[in-house]
């Protein structure tokens, strides 16, 4: 059974294996297919039209499935690998071990945002950016400049306290847990972390930065924590909603799974701690 661990507690060997598996997916071309899929949804999901991956109730189950696909791809390279998560409310500075050269590498240089160390630095030749929105082919970051502070534990807690999963109009204008976690409203959790990292993480092709997976693995964990805290609250809406994925409706691009099928993460993995 896959156990997703806090990135801060990974051993040197676990980090090495995770990095090697990611690099192998990149080398084989499988990695870039994930970036392409994400960008297609992010530009296709609109507040007044069909919306599946973002700005909608299915933001959480869609990313849960997307991460499962990626984790299975990693495991096809190395069965011992699981997706780690980044608790950005705890490891909240550019000095966190997450950004060390033996893991994801650090922030970009000021001249052009280019990441200069770690296994994903352009100079290694192992991390070309092929799916992109501009001409730059190197991984960029600007940790803590787009926005100064990552969300605090108190801010996370204030969102976990929201008892209703989601509300009409089921988009970026909604009240409720999902949209506050996604960040279009309120203290802003998920969106703000993308902006804090900067570089490609702030764009539609954000999975170009491997921290994308660690960020979303933590967003996914917060969904699980919310479920435990509000056992009487379920996924909404439950039927008949135009342009929105209802609880038992199948999700693109897989067309074989509904949000209902993805509510219980323990069918696929567990976490190291609650």
């Amino acid at each position: 059974m896959t156990v997703r661990k806090n990135q801060a507690s990974l051993t040197a060997d676990e980090k090495r294996r995770f990095v090697a598996a990611v690099l192998e997916l990149k080398r084989s071309g499988r990695y870039d297919a994930f970036v392409t899929t994400h960008n297609a949804f992010i530009v296709g999901d609109t507040d007044n039209g069909e919306r599946t991956g973002h700005r909608s109730p299915s933001f959480l189950p869609w990313h849960r499935r997307f991460l499962l696909e990626f984790e299975r791809a990693l495991q096809s390279v190395d069965p011992s690998v699981a997706l780690p998560y980044w608790n950005w409310s705890a490891d909240r500075s550019a000095r966190a071990s997450l950004w060390a050269p033996d893991f994801l590498g650090g922030t970009g240089r000021s001249l052009d945002g280019r990441v200069m160390d770690g296994p994903f630095a352009a100079a290694t030749g192992n991390w070309p950016l092929n799916v992109r929105v501009d001409g730059r082919t190197y991984l960029r970051r600007s940790l803590g400049t787009g926005v100064r502070e990552l969300p605090t534990p108190a801010e996370v807690d204030s969102v976990l306290a929201m008892a209703t999963y989601d509300m009409a109009p089921w988009n970026s204008g909604s009240d409720g847990f999902r949209n506050h976690l996604e960040g279009w409203r309120g203290v802003n959790l998920h969106n703000r972390v993308h902006v804090w990292v900067g570089g490609q993480m702030a764009t539609g092709v954000s999975p170009n930065d491997p921290v994308f997976w660690l960020h979303h693995a933590y967003i996914d964990k917060l969904w699980a924590q919310w479920q435990r805290r509000h056992p009487a609250s379920g996924y909404l809406p439950t039927g008949g909603t135009p342009d929105v994925v209802d609880r038992d409706e199948r999700m693109k691009p897989w067309n074989d799974t509904s949000p209902a099928d993805l509510l219980d993460h323990t069918a696929h993995y567990t976490f190291d701690t609650d």
């Binding site: 507040d47 929105v133 501009d134 703000r192 764009t203 954000s206």
Partner: protein, 136 residues
């Protein structure tokens, strides 16, 4: 909308002149754009378009105007009928339910209007050329 200053109005007028009749912005359209540019306004069903713009920002030409084809470009109408260009290459933009805007190079940080999204894109690009979308 304190920013609807003389300068902004002049810029809009200049852009209209530059567009040479490619688009028609009525007085009502402009007024609607003003009221929907802020986060508090209007909401999902107001299709008033923001005013066009055309300026050089940090050495690059940014333009915004009503999209050709009534906003159904690329089958999605993502910009709700509004298109933004950086040095002539279209920048994918999207309007949020609260009237704020984002672009594909700054997708998680809403700003007040399409011109702010274009300027944010120029900041982010640091001189790099935009890849016409859909990428790849």
């Amino acid at each position: 909308m304190p920013e609807l200053s003389r300068r902004r109005a002049l810029t809009a007028a200049a852009a209209l002149a530059a567009a040479a009749g490619a688009t028609t912005v009525t007085a009502a359209g402009s007024a609607s754009a003003v009221t929907t540019a802020g986060p508090a306004a209007a909401g999902a069903h107001d299709h008033g378009l923001p005013e066009p713009f055309d300026e050089v920002y940090k050495g690059r030409r940014i333009q915004g105007r009503a999209a050709a084809g009534g906003g159904h470009h690329h089958g999605g109408g993502h910009g709700d009928g509004y298109a933004v260009f950086v040095d002539g290459v279209e920048l994918h933009v999207m309007r949020n339910a609260d009237g704020t805007w984002i672009s594909v190079v700054s997708h998680y940080a809403p700003v007040a209007d399409p011109r702010a999204a274009a300027r944010a894109a120029v900041d982010e690009l640091q001189g790099a050329r935009l890849v016409p979308f859909p990428a790849n």
